[in-house]
Symmetry: none
Subunit: 225 residues, 2 copies
Amino acid sequence: MDKSKILVVDDESRMRKLVNDFLSRAGYTVLEAGDGMQALEVYASDKSIALIILDVMMPGLNGWDTLESIREMSSVPVIMLTARSEEQDELRGFKLGVDEYITKPFSPRILVARVDAVLRRSASTQSEQHDIGGIVIDKSAHRVTVDGREIDLSFKEFELLVYFVENQGIALSRETILNNVWNYNYFGDSRTIDTHVKKLRSKLGEKGDYIHTVWGMGYKFEAVR
Amino acid sequence: MDKSKILVVDDESRMRKLVNDFLSRAGYTVLEAGDGMQALEVYASDKSIALIILDVMMPGLNGWDTLESIREMSSVPVIMLTARSEEQDELRGFKLGVDEYITKPFSPRILVARVDAVLRRSASTQSEQHDIGGIVIDKSAHRVTVDGREIDLSFKEFELLVYFVENQGIALSRETILNNVWNYNYFGDSRTIDTHVKKLRSKLGEKGDYIHTVWGMGYKFEAVR
DNA sequence: TATTGAGTGAACGTTCTGTGAAAACTATAG
DNA sequence: CTATAGTTTTCACAGAACGTTCACTCAATA
């Protein structure tokens, strides 16, 4: 399968770059537009774009107006970026066929997960499930079973485990983990990861040592002892 | 099974588009007509249409007159779209074989559910019924029994329960629930869901904990403790 | 052995959920 | 049209679950 093309529309270049980074790393091809007009031009000249991520609050053509114009030419999937404080104009969104909302600030993991989900949905209707060495993760049900036994994970623990599993065999620094599982504007102590790892390990029982410590570096998930 | 073809008749293009969107996403093929005359033409030239959704209030031929003409050529299933204020001419509808009414505003869930129901009914004479772990839901009778004992649910409680049951095992955010169970133009507090969940849980008795809280996320229905 | 990093349990502050009651809204009957 | 009962929504508070930090201990490296 080839990489899907995604158009990111935001007036803040910092935000565009950020989203671009995350999506590029997730294997997508990313195009950027700094305002609504530019977005329309870009999309008009390249209808192979699979998904558009639209910031709501922009000078000139705002996200909604831009979307309205886009809808005149296509029903391409759209994700709206909103600030927490901004009211989500759900009615408008619904009518215009918004597929998802992402509230700033968001974690890269969530961004990528939503993008994946929307693209998957637009392709087919399939439920995402991982199964690694006896650990079964059902993302849609937000459920994890170890050797058939369901275990109870908190939100962050779940997010962290999913991140580990989706990056099996790769040594991940605390920095990297923080950047991907936590919000991009998180500035806390990276040792908080240790605490979550501890809890994860204990909740995973004997499968807990699939989470390997890479001394002086970080952690690595691998389904072996 | 191939997609059923549905003809949507409404003078407001926005409304047509909206209904089209919802139904397309649900996997139906949608045709549109902007007035009664056009509807008659479209239907006359394509009798493979499985269902017609008719707005009552239209300039020119109104919904009723249009339906009358349609009935001269076919007994195709029909759903009438009415505004809350408009009186539902039930007698007339009954005589003309109206299958369902949908009152504006409606939620996507209701639209798709009614369409599904009508088409299913028109295919076989089966009444829609769920039976999950002792909870029996008769959708057409709008009745719920728990371990054989009938319980009394309000409209919203019923809708919510049905939505949960039809999405078993999936963690549903409040956002998602609001979008699907409430009207598309609902702007309220998502905590209202908590209140309904509370009442549902208590009315379901010990089966109440089939509704699981997914902390930091939403709720999930699962017929286990 | 000295130094640096990791494991751990407890404590704290934060965020989210459960809940009852009040308010707003609807439908119904008089 | 008004009163009334029932339903839905909002609100505020209490309590639970969670995320984070900290101080300490233990382990790895050189």
